[in-house]
Symmetry: D2
Subunit: 348 residues, 4 copies
């Protein structure tokens, strides 16, 4: 069967997101990872010699001995996943798109391009319609939102559809892996919390407006929801926890909310995509749940855990959301984007 798989490559393959892509793409039923690209410093080496691999599972054997290439068009594949640093991602990704590669990017650079979908497959699959507007010839660029946005919006989407969201307040407690590797110093995080993550609050307050915006076939009109976010770094390896408060146009009962969360499905579930969580939202009734260490890996790390739905003195309701920031929030989310594109014939 592997003869029919789509050949894919990874840009920024030695970084933390790149490593996660490699781990998750091993044995993928749709995609065959055949090209590994990274900075000039790594290019020309075997992958195992170029990378400081820090995942608990070993480097897949056939990847370990691949020669790392430069991040330039010329890779023998027609889809590339990008985990490039934002300082260089913009131009490189554009160059690949112009040379007929489909680029699925985890970097922020093109997220607000007018013709680029900022895609969460369960939330705004119709935004893939923007690809018809793109001017990259046979190539394309699709972007994955910020890791703290994805979990939040999967929890909010069914509420928005059913009851109309007006206001969202969110305070995050984010994992170390969200800062890459080496990222946060151990000296800064043991017995501590850092109440600041550069650029993160702005992303959380703006990306949802595009993602929940209306696509009229040509362009996206930003949503009018108002969002405030406060972001903190805590001593957790993986899994972003978020204290969320919402005001809704039509205030439902708690049971109505629990019901729409329970029944929420998106296109990934309808198409039964390989990386789609069977149930996107898992609600926990125990007051002390969800917790990062216990629940970040639910449904392969692709589902969102929610709990503590309760009344709020200032908004309608408050609740807690947890999602795996490097799986659902980065590499796994991007792979699900590619799976949806493949099933819709957009990777040809």
């Amino acid at each position: 069967m592997s003869i029919q798989k789509i050949k894919v490559g990874i840009l920024g393959a030695t970084g933390s997101v790149g490593q996660k892509f490699i781990q998750l793409l091993a044995e993928h039923p749709f995609f065959e990872l055949v090209e590994i690209a990274a900075s000039d410093r790594s290019a020309g080496k075997k992958y195992k010699d170029a990378v400081n691999w820090f995942l608990p599972t070993p480097i897949p054997e056939k990847i370990a001995n691949l020669i790392v290439k430069n991040c330039e068009p010329g890779l023998s594949c027609n889809v590339v996943f990008s985990g490039l640093d934002a300082s260089i991602a913009g131009e490189i990704e554009e160059s690949f798109a112009k040379n007929n590669y489909h680029v699925i990017s985890n970097s922020k650079n093109h997220r607000f391009d007018n013709d680029v979908p900022l895609l969460i497959p369960e939330v705004n699959p119709d935004h893939l319609g923007l690809l018809k507007v793109q001017n990259y010839g046979k190539g394309s660029i699709v972007t994955n939102p910020n890791c703290s946005v994805i979990g939040l919006l999967i929890a909010l989407k069914p509420l928005h559809d059913a009851f109309g969201i007006e206001l969202v307040n969110v305070v995050t407690m984010q994992a170390l892996s969200g800062a890459g590797y080496p990222g946060v110093s151990g000296l800064d995080i043991i017995d501590n919390v850092i109440p600041f993550i550069g650029g993160e609050e702005n992303k959380m307050e703006t990306e949802p407006l595009k993602i929940l915006g209306n696509f009229d076939g040509k362009k996206i009109e930003q949503s009018a929801i108002k969002i405030s976010s406060s972001c903190n770094r805590v001593s957790v390896v993986d899994g972003h926890l978020e204290s969320v408060q919402v005001k809704l146009k039509n205030k439902p009962s708690k049971d109505e909310i629990l019901s729409v969360w329970k029944n929420f499905k998106g296109e990934p579930q309808e198409y039964d995509l390989p990386f789609a969580p069977i149930q996107p939202i898992h609600y926990f009734f125990e007051e002390k749940y969800p917790q990062p260490r216990l629940h970040r890996n639910i449904d392969k790390g692709m589902a969102v855990a929610v709990g503590r739905l309760r009344d709020c003195n200032l908004f309608d309701y408050k609740f807690t959301v947890l999602s795996h920031n490097t799986v659902r929030g980065a590499a796994g989310g991007a792979i699900l984007c590619a799976e949806l594109m493949k099933i819709k014939g957009l990777l040809t």
Copy 2:
């Protein structure tokens, strides 16, 4: 000089708050610790044999060999600090007050008694006027608020006085020592956050209304401020961090807020009380501050650290507050209450 000190005792002396009282009362200029009382299990033993001492400084020598007594009136002192568990504190404290002891309590039981001050010396010293209404003869009961409330209200008080607070939203990241000892299991908190602390959200939403309430000489009229809180436990030893958002009646500029914080002083500062922080509020301009491990001990652990004042899309402003939960938020705060009472002649 020690001949003139006021003799004090501790109820619940073996618990975590009790230990902190003992540590902080060593060498106190106003008070001499002469009585140590705890449960029947400990009574009759030397303190050093009854306690599982877990503070980094050793047990003060003259306390180590004191015989632990039962928590019953008959102690040779006229002031008692109570760190009793809420399951038994109510009756015991009442019994002491009726027997002419002044009780300064860190327990929640009497916080909402109509005639009992819920006291933060910098915030509502006039509420000590309630003691005239109390019916405990020569005795009295004064209570210290919840540890997560004290830091918050010290930061809010000057804003309330200057600009009028209407709405407060607060999401906490609280330290382990707030749960007592042994408290939270290591297995539950390493690489984790627990998004729930039993009873805490209710305390944070109700205690401020009494503390900021108006005292007309006879009773306290609750404040009309609206508060919503969400409480989380993080992997930090000491120091509660809080993400705060406020809506004010008269929206000031950031500089006006910084100015009222900088100039804020209360009665403890005016009387130059031993445990009074020189400056109650320290504002940090570095975006990544305040942090629990770096700033919890500011000014003997009695000051409040504030940072990240910024605009909010939903409220007027948001900022971060940090205070030491077992010093300012418990034993140290209660001692400051006693110091204020002493200077006002209320401990005779």
Copy 3:
């Protein structure tokens, strides 16, 4: 096929080892978990209502609704796994064995009974011959060694066979889960190490002597190896790390040691038992490995990770050993014992 499975029960099913047994026995090819027993406090309740479940995977559905029974013979199974507390395990296990149950115990009580195997399937499978000496009728007792001993001895066994071990020095850095739940307080372990684990050093210095002892068909003659151990508790969830030093009768080269580790296989591998690691010992050449968080789950948590083999100024060699204390070192190890007994016809 499940009609042919052996029915098993768990004694002490609500504790930490009990929970791990339940998690690992779900879908076991040899065993069907049908009985759940715990203390009087839990008996009569549904398991899900009796347990404070703290594992990241949910309670297997058909176990969740089982009614917890008392720890008394009368369970409808003929094999019981015991995760009972040592304060009660001795008598209860004996009572089950006398009533024709096969007891595989993780508790320490019977480990040094002359007629009870202290079994690591890869290390001393011949000790199962002791069962012929036992006087429990159709029942039997087999014990699993201490969690810190199992990993150590799997690493030492091939060295002992090939080169003869004379002296062993071991200093451990042990995980929190080894202390059960709630076990160690978060306040005691954040930013800390506890250089003491009650009873642990004695177990590490005595259990290996029995396990590596010679069985002459009737009794075990203790090994003459000399062992010294020092045990420390560190801030790790799962996985005991051990700094090991050995003096060997015939000092080999490093390559010879690496070779015997690489080629080491035991009966579990020969029989291809379900819980047998494919390769019992994984050697890491990177100087910074093995590490608890990265390598504790190797081969389902049943393999042992070894690294840093180097010369020693006092002994012949030193190296680092890591194994998963609640899988290989407790529930998983006990299940492997049962699998070996089943394949040898000792569970009838």
Copy 4:
């Protein structure tokens, strides 16, 4: 009085050891910190603008506004403390010594120079006699040993004097601050132990041989003690914990050992130097002590905590040692060296 203080400077003032020097030298009775030097990148800036200050106490005010200079002779002081990185420390320190500065260095470069004392003031003060052999004119170089060596040797010195040490085995659990800042990534140390610290084992096995060596007035003859060490990094902010085993020429009783530890004093205690701990060794009888978080700050962080003295199956005794790695083990230890030199007239 400050007019009589000796003017000192710091080389490498922005690094982690440099910051600790600045914190500890504030208000020092012998020394006045007047010069701050660092890399070209920092030179010319105010110290507060050049440094990423991460200590919990603020930058001393008069240091904050000092202009950082280059690490070249020309500083207006005659003593410099060096916290330079080993990659550049060697030449710079030599250059200062040749230009008549007294250099007290925390770097490893000159530790094994034949004419340079490797000094622990309580252990080998006579080695300062080497300064007569040095050829640096009016300047000199004195070095401070590795952080993990200092605590160990303070605990061993009285045993060596009284009973003669033959063999030492030590396994360390070392704090993050020993790796500098940012040092170890949070991702590498949360829920983990790293069983390797580059170069550390070699330092622990060789530095003690010089420090305990005999000085005959001209040169040091290395001690014949044999040492083996294994070094691990654990999730602790400050404080190195060490499991130690010793074989002694004349095996004493435990009481004899406790007695020599209790009575141990060195020249810093005799001269009552400012940074001298009143009692260099504190023995704890509680089995679970010493612990990094509880005991690292004993006696200003300058004393060594010892506990768990017990028999060993392979050596004579084993015990646990703890000392503060950045105070006693680095900046504080170096300052004590300078104090001893000052009192002996060696800083003129």
